[in-house]
Amino acid sequence: MNLDDDPLDPPALRARIERARADQPPLIRTSDTLRAVRRGLADGAAAPDWVAEFAGLFTRPAFGALGLAAVLLLGAVALTEWRDLESTLDWAQLTDIPIGGRT
């Protein structure tokens, strides 16, 4: 198992990566960025796409673990409640007493 630096195979991919590294970014004017930042500060604006940003939070492992814990907790509560209800029903049938009512 090689944990150290390892070029990507196959060679065609390596060659393409080498070529891609020479790519230069398109020109983004600093003045445009400054204007946008000033506007963002003035508006107190959130991220450009806050819905996706929010949804993106749930792909993080911490949120996944929290979600799993919440599901397990809900499942445990539902199971307990169901057992309580089931035993109440059994008891009601045995004693022939309507649930929540008087004879």
Partner: protein
């Protein structure tokens, strides 16, 4: 967004100021409320930040958003910057986090909306368009970069970010570990798995 964690490679642990940080005076002025000072910082780091974020972005409009988001976060978090960490590293970490968030958003869009990983023509010309006046000087490099980004976009977000920084930007794994807040061993393991996953997603016609 959360504040970038302290850089373990900096002098923060020793409490010493980063020696000869050329940005320190401007950052202090910006922290004191001088707007011209943060604008100077934006101007000084605009090129390197744009180049870094271009490794993540698929199209020009996305790149603009990412650059703006990075500098907006920079200005908002300036009060938390400490002179013990070099400003350039601190800003680079913000940019990397913005890039990772972008990868996550794209992954979520693909998963929930089934949106293809191709550049969206509604949001500006694809970067390969010949009429783009600011196009990179090397069309073959642009085409190769577009292709590699498209292939990497099939990976989970952190794998994509890791391989992007390592192979396209040429970062050592130790630097990625420091910026991602992972241990070096964990980063090596993740890189190995990411490479294996990447290879498994490639079909023969991908590199034809």
């Amino acid at each position: 967004m959360s504040e970038p964690p302290p850089d373990p490679s900096s002098n923060a642990a020793s409490g010493r100021p980063a020696a000869g940080d050329p940005d320190a005076a401007d950052v202090r002025a910006a922290q004191a409320g001088n707007a011209a000072a943060w604008e100077t910082l934006v101007e000084r780091h605009h090129g390197t930040t744009t180049a870094l974020l271009w490794r993540f972005a698929r199209e020009r409009a996305d790149l603009e958003d990412l650059v703006q988001e990075t500098f907006l976060r920079m200005v908002r978090h300036l009060p938390s910057w400490k002179p013990e960490q070099p400003f350039g590293h601190w800003l680079r970490r913000i940019a990397v986090n913005v890039g990772r968030d972008y990868c996550r958003r794209q992954a979520v869009r693909r998963r929930w909306f089934g949106r293809p990983a191709e550049p969206d023509p509604e949001r500006g010309a694809p970067t390969i368009e010949p009429e783009a006046p600011d196009r990179g000087p090397d069309p073959a490099a642009r085409a190769a970069a577009d292709e590699i980004k498209q292939l990497l976009s099939r990976l989970p977000p952190d794998d994509r970010a890791l391989l992007t920084l390592h192979y396209l930007e040429g970062w050592p794994l130790a630097d990625i570990a420091a910026d991602f807040g992972w241990t070096l061993t964990a980063t090596k393991l993740r890189a190995m798995r990411a490479r294996a996953r990447f290879r498994s997603t490639l079909s023969p016609q991908d590199l034809a």
